[in-house]
Amino acid sequence: MSNVTLRNVRKTYPGGVEAIKGIDFAVDDGQFCVLVGPSGCGKSTLLRMVAGLETITKGEIDIGGRVVNDIEPADRDIAMVFQNYALYPHMSVYNNMAYGLRNRGMPKPEIDTRVREAARILEIGALLERKPRQLSGGQRQRVAMGRAIVRQPKVFLFDEPLSNLDAKLRIAMRVEIRKLQRRLNTTSIYVTHDQLEAMTLADILVVMNGGMVEQIGNPLEVYRKPASTFVASFIGAPPMNLITLDADEIRAQFSGDARANTEAGILGIRPEDLLISTEAAASGGLSLDLVVDAIERVGAETFVYGARARHGEPAISARPGELPPGEVIVRVPGQNAPAVGERIMVTAPRERLHLFSADGRRRIDL
C-alpha cells in the first residue's frame, strides 16, 4: 500500500509568510495526482514537503500508512524528478542511477540488473557510460526518470519535470511518463503550471491557488464543473468566458430555475460551447451580440474574439495584450470564421452555462 494522505498541512516560513494554508487530500495507491496552479501558489513547496526537503509547520503527511513528518527524505521511500534534473554532473549515467542503490548497500549484481532494466525501459542503454553534460535535454530527463525508477520507491514525485524541454519533446515525454506510470503502477504526485499537462496526466487533479486548494477531482469533472472562476479560467485553453451579471440579468437568464434568485453573479461559458448562429437561443439559452475584433486561426480550429455590443453601442476595441471585460472568445471548428468588424450572434444552450457567486469563489449549481 502506498497511498499518500495530507491532513491540514500548513507551511509558514520563518519570516511569517504563509505558503501553504491548510491542505487536505488523498492519493490512492497507484494513482497519478497532479498539482496545478500558477507560479507562487505553493504547489512546489507542497511537493517538497512530501519529499521531506521542507519542514511541515502543521498538519500531517502520511505515506503508506506512516506519518512521515519527522522522517528523513531518504527514509520516506520516495523518488523525485527535479525540474533541472539535478543529475550528478561528475558521474556517468550508470553511476547516476546506481548511486541511490549503492547508498542503500544493495549487492552489486542486483544494482546492475536494475540499472540495465531501467535503461532498457527508458531506451538509454547506449548512454550508460556518458556524463550528463554530453546528453541532450531529453536524454537528461530520461536519466532523471531512470534514477527514480531503479529505486522502486513507493511514491514518485515530479517537480515540473518537463518545463525545460522544447514543446515537441514535452508532449512526447508527457505521454511516456504516463505510460511508464501505468506500467509501474506507482503512486505519483506531479507538479506543473501547464494545465494541458495536468489534464492529460492526472487521475486526480488538485488545482491550487494562493497556498490553498481550489478544487480536487477527476480532470474532466474539474473541466465540466469548475468550482470557482479561478479554476474556470485556469483549466481549459482558451479560458472560460466570464461575464458579470446583475440581479435582473440573472433573473432573466435563469428564469424558472433555482439560480434565478441569486443577487449578482458571474456567468461562465466555455469558448467551444458558443455557437455562431443567426437565430437567438432556444428558451433559457444564452444569446450574445458580438462585434468581431480579432481572429486566430490555428488550423483545426479558429478562435474568434468578439466584443459585446450592448444596446447598440459600438464595441470598444481591445487594447493590445489585454482582454477587456466585455471580450468573449468563441471556438469555431475548422477555418471558416467571420471577418473582423462583422457583427455576429453567438448562442449557447442553458445546460452549458455556469454560474458563480459575485466574488467568483463559489459555484452556484441548480
Binding site: G52, P89, G100, R147
Partner: protein, 293 residues
C-alpha cells in the same frame, strides 16, 4: 563560440594591451633576464670586479647539501601550509554555506585576515606565541609543553606554518564558498533523497564538484608558500633557528643581500623560478585530468 571585436584602427588593440604588457615586461621579464645574466657572473667580495663564469654558480650550488636541505624544507613548508590552510578553509566554507543567522557578518569577518600584510601577520603570531611575551605561549607552557620557537626548530616551523596558513585561509575560504554556492541545491537534495547522509553527500557529491576550485587553489597556495611567505619568515624567525625555517626564497635573500654572493643568489632564484614553472606545469598536466569540470 568566439567573440570577435572589430577595431577600425590597427593600432588601437595594441595600445589597449600596452599597459599590461609594459608592466609584465618591466616587472617580470626584465628582472628575470637580469637574474639569468647575473647567475652566470661571479663578483669578488667587495663588488669591484666581475667575471663571467658560465654555469659555475649552478654547479657549486648543486654540490651543496645545504641547498638540497632548503629544497626539501621548502616543499615540506608548502605542503604543510597548503594542506592546512586548504582543509581548514574548506571546513569553514562548508559551515558558512549553511543558512544561518548573521551569516553575512561572519563571512565578512572570515575574509578580513587577507587584508593583513604578511609581515604584520608574522608579528601578530609572534606576539601571541613568543616564548616570553606570548599569551598563547604561556598557556602552552602551563600545559607542560616546553614551547620555544626561538630555540626549537620544529616549533619555529609550526609557528611559520601557522601564520602563513592563517593568512591564506581567507583567500581559500572565499573561493571555496563561491564553489560551494555554485553547486545546484537540487543536486544535493537529490543525493539526500538517494539515501546519502551528510558526510557521504559531502564526499561523493560536494567534494568532487569542488575539484576545479581545489585544483586552482592548490596551485595558488603552493606559489604562495614558495614566495609570499618571505615577509612572515623575515618578521618571525629570520630563517632560524639553525636554518630550520630557511626556505628557498629566504635563502636567495640571505645569500644575495646579506651574504653578498650575488651570482649564487641569482642562480638560486633562477632555479626557484624553474621549480615553480615545472610544478605548475605538472599540476596543470596531470592533476587537471582528474578534475571534474
Amino acid at each position: 563560440m568566439q567573440k570577435q571585436s572589430v577595431f577600425h584602427s590597427p593600432l588601437l588593440p595594441f595600445l589597449l594591451i600596452a599597459p599590461q604588457v609594459g608592466i609584465v615586461l618591466v616587472f617580470f621579464y626584465w628582472p628575470a633576464l637580469q637574474a639569468v645574466w647575473q647567475s652566470f657572473l661571479l663578483q669578488d667580495a667587495f663588488g669591484l670586479s666581475t667575471t663571467f663564469v658560465a654555469f659555475e654558480n649552478y654547479a657549486e650550488l648543486l654540490q651543496q647539501p645545504e641547498y638540497f636541505n632548503a629544497i626539501v624544507r621548502t616543499f615540506a613548508f608548502s605542503a604543510l601550509i597548503a594542506g592546512s590552510s586548504l582543509s581548514f578553509a574548506l571546513l569553514l566554507a562548508v559551515m558558512a554555506d549553511k543558512p544561518l543567522r548573521g551569516v553575512g557578518l561572519y563571512r565578512t569577518l572570515l575574509i578580513w585576515p587577507y587584508a593583513v600584510a604578511p609581515a604584520v601577520a608574522g608579528v601578530l603570531w609572534m606576539f601571541m606565541l613568543h616564548p616570553s611575551l606570548g599569551v598563547l605561549a604561556r598557556g602552552l607552557r602551563n600545559m607542560g609543553l616546553d614551547w620555544n620557537p626561538l630555540l626549537n626548530g620544529n616549533h619555529a616551523v609550526i609557528l611559520v606554518v601557522l601564520a602563513a596558513a592563517w593568512k591564506q585561509i581567507s583567500y581559500n575560504f572565499l573561493f571555496f564558498l563561491a564553489g560551494l554556492q555554485s553547486i545546484p541545491k537540487s543536486v544535493l537534495e537529490a543525493a539526500a533523497i538517494d539515501g546519502a547522509g551528510p558526510m557521504r553527500r559531502f564526499w561523493t557529491v560536494t567534494f568532487p564538484l569542488l575539484t576545479p576550485t581545489i585544483f586552482f587553489l592548490i596551485v595558488v597556495n603552493i606559489v604562495y608558500a614558495f614566495f609570499d611567505t618571505f615577509g612572515i619568515i623575515d618578521a618571525m624567525t629570520g630563517g632560524g633557528p639553525a636554518k630550520s625555517t630557511e626556505t628557498l626564497v629566504y635563502k636567495v635573500y640571505l645569500d644575495g643581500l646579506l651574504g653578498g654572493n650575488l651570482g649564487s643568489s641569482a642562480a638560486q632564484s633562477v632555479l626557484l623560478m624553474v621549480i615553480v614553472i615545472g610544478l605548475t606545469a605538472i599540476q596543470f598536466r596531470y592533476v587537471e585530468r582528474k578534475v571534474t569540470y
